[in-house]
Symmetry: C2
Subunit: 435 residues, 2 copies
């Protein structure tokens, strides 16, 4: 019997995260303070973020950062996640490629987001913070943060992008089970929300609008900090636990990936699986392709411009050097709510600029076709976001079928789609907008 | 760092199921043919069930039955499931008890049901069957069967209990993703359904009505067999993979359970976790308590009578010797759709009669209180069915708190509740019927 799953013993779960900034030849350009136009220092972020997260954000020197023991204790409840050889998908495609996926969908709350929610909530607790705010699209991040806050005894408030709040009501329920206050964004509860609704009363929300509201609420609330589920460098740092595990697990399978693929919203799950492998490309010249799969309707990597731009719609955040569609970009109402963001994280933006990675765009219809194919072959219904990674994987595997190459492809199954079934209903009914 | 998860290497996944019938001193009484009043032979079941399942159903001699390699290949995608030490729950309760749970919620489709769906679909395929029918309550079994049928290239049709079809629309979607035809039951598509609707046009369905419809469709369709997700002895047999793994995993943790707990609908997940431990009670006199947790509103074990009764509402099935509330019992519209069944499997009924196990009943409100407590402590939102097992576990753990005993409690987390969030919404809003 061929082995299908590779799981690390508890003792092999990483004790450090990997900070790729330290190894990059061209460092990311600095975030800029919108008032002073000066490069940002960690202290400038303290009013909004936990201090430790702010320091991690700008750390360009330490390649390895210790995972606090309290966080490792929580990781141990669900890590390592399985690395799975997708024999079913290979057979369905008739490809000679070896396809592996890292199954983050079996994490608590159903996605990789918990990997950063736990340390962010832990640092908040340690620094005496009593309240956290955040934004969420589809609700994967909001659910993870709600749980992590509960674990460490902190109150949480989540602004959920309005269209996702309506498309995916169960994720709101999940956040409420963990005691979180959930508000659809844009809302009348913040100045930013009121301004947006005044300009456009039918605004369906975006991650950009929800970030503005969450940042504003954090600033207006005593002893409250803001947390973010993607884009930022410290979030990508936390997610490297995925790739560090995957590297050991691929070794258990006796293989090494030729191609590493993940879907792309702000960059956290892509960074998480790709950076640990990319260090071998940077340091040892190892030839591996890294492919970010973004939605055709929100193509910041394939069609955006590299520029200094705000991270949110209202312009509350620092200016970030990134590939962006403009901070007032209104993405189409696709079901992959977690990918509806106008910009890319600063590290990924620099890596793309330097040609260390590639990007592809995937139409909504194609993403769900790939998702249903995968579900039927592997028994897991993937999140609409993850469907983009699967579609890109299918494309690469079919190229291998043409050429006969036995390439090793690894992709990150960032989450399950069990709360996104209305999207699958529409797809099966042929009623999905193919944007 | 204390170890929290225990996972078996692929080589340790059981190669045989455990058939407790062979070891029982008092064997279950035989099912009876309703026409001839004679004890049933396996051949009598061939028109409805796959032959191998029919033989397993009545096998009272072989304690160990080989798991076909093709099924083990599929098991290996997700087994072993983790055994988890619930430190979070212990802390929340302040109990000296050691609480473990077997986490079947991370299985494909989210519950233990896949463990029997795979062999049933496999045997069907092997015997040349092209179509399968079944019933489902909450949809856990229907989803598993839909996937298993797809895996082995068989068409499937599922009758879903009407109230669950409406309460849990996402599970219908899941079945449809796997290509299954899903009909709410009672329906006008069968004679049984028409009869029921004629008598009671507002009938909200029960597992008993859905079974009648699925059996009738199987009998009316060429090359079609019926499958069942619980109650029957061969289903319990397949589920023993849970307890056989748990036994090895408890040994990894250096413990042995004093109490084994599972929720109870027809008996499959209870049997699955309990029987492998119970063999040590039967054969070696090992003292362990086995507790089945059923809903207060469907109390076949605590309030039912031991009798020969039909397994379905229309009276299509053989007469089974079981604890029953009567085959026309209409259970309250609780959210634990998988527990809304009038009878208990014949093995469990005999064991209860012989005092080898206990049963407790749990009110709906108490089950959700326990579920939310567990979710906040462990990060997993349990299925409404599993909430009953958790409530019974909490009760036992609180007794330990009173007495100071460090008892070892093992329960089966049979599934997640991510598609049952409307029930949690009602609970949080205080709008849940406490039946």
């Amino acid at each position: 019997m061929k082995q299908k799953r590779f799981i690390l013993p508890e003792t092999e779960i990483p004790k450090q995260w990997y900070n790729i900034q330290a190894d990059m030849k061209n460092k990311p350009m600095p975030p800029i303070h919108p008032g002073t136009k000066q490069p940002l220092k960690a202290e400038d972020l303290f009013p909004i973020f936990c201090e430790e997260c702010a320091r991690q954000e700008l750390n360009q020197t330490d390649a390895w950062i210790d995972i606090p023991e309290e966080v490792r204790e929580k990781y141990a409840y669900y890590r390592s996640t399985p690395l799975v050889r997708a024999y079913g998908l290979e057979e369905a495609l008739g490809t000679p490629a070896h396809i592996y996926f890292k199954n983050e969908s079996v994490n608590p709350l159903g996605s990789h987001k918990i990997n950063s929610a736990l340390p962010q909530a832990y640092y908040a607790k340690k620094e005496g913070v009593t309240n956290l705010t955040t934004e969420t699209g589809a609700g994967q991040w909001g659910a993870a943060l709600a749980y992590a806050a509960k674990v460490f005894g902190i109150e949480s408030a989540v602004y959920q992008v309005k269209i996702s709040y309506e498309q995916k009501p169960y994720r709101r329920s999940v956040m409420q089970v963990f005691g979180s206050q959930v508000t659809p964004s844009p809302s009348m509860s913040t100045r930013a929300g009121k301004d947006i609704l005044t300009r456009d009363p039918n605004h369906q929300g975006s991650l950009g609008t929800a970030i503005s509201e969450a940042v504003e609420l954090a600033q207006m609330t005593p002893n409250c900090k803001y947390t973010l589920g993607s884009v930022l460098s410290h979030v990508s740092l936390h997610q490297t636990v995925i790739g560090l595990e995957a590297e050991k697990q691929m070794a258990m399978a006796g293989e090494y990936p030729d191609i590493v693929i993940a879907c792309f919203g702000g960059g956290s799950n892509f960074s998480g699986i790709a950076f640990p492998f990319m260090r071998h490309t940077i340091l040892e010249g190892r030839q591996t392709r890294y492919i970010a799969a973004e939605p055709k309707s929100c193509p910041k990597l394939t069609k955006g411009k590299f520029m200094y731009d705000f991270g949110d719609e209202a312009g509350y955040t620092p200016l970030l050097p990134m590939y962006s569609l403009g901070h007032d970009f209104k993405p189409a109402l696709i079901h992959a709510g977690g990918l509806r963001y106008h910009g890319a994280g600063v590290i990924v933006s620099q890596l793309l600029k330097d040609g260390l990675m590639e990007a592809v765009d995937i139409a909504q219809q194609d993403s769900f076709s790939a998702g249903v194919l995968f579900a039927r072959a592997e028994g897991i219904i993937p999140a609409p976001e993850s469907c983009h990674a699967i579609a890109a994987t299918v494309n690469e595997a079919l190229k291998c079928k043409e050429t006969g190459e036995e390439k090793v492809i690894l992709f990150n199954l960032s989450g399950h789609g069990l709360m996104d079934m209305s999207a699958y209903d529409q797809f099966l009914a042929g009623a999905l907008q193919n944007t």
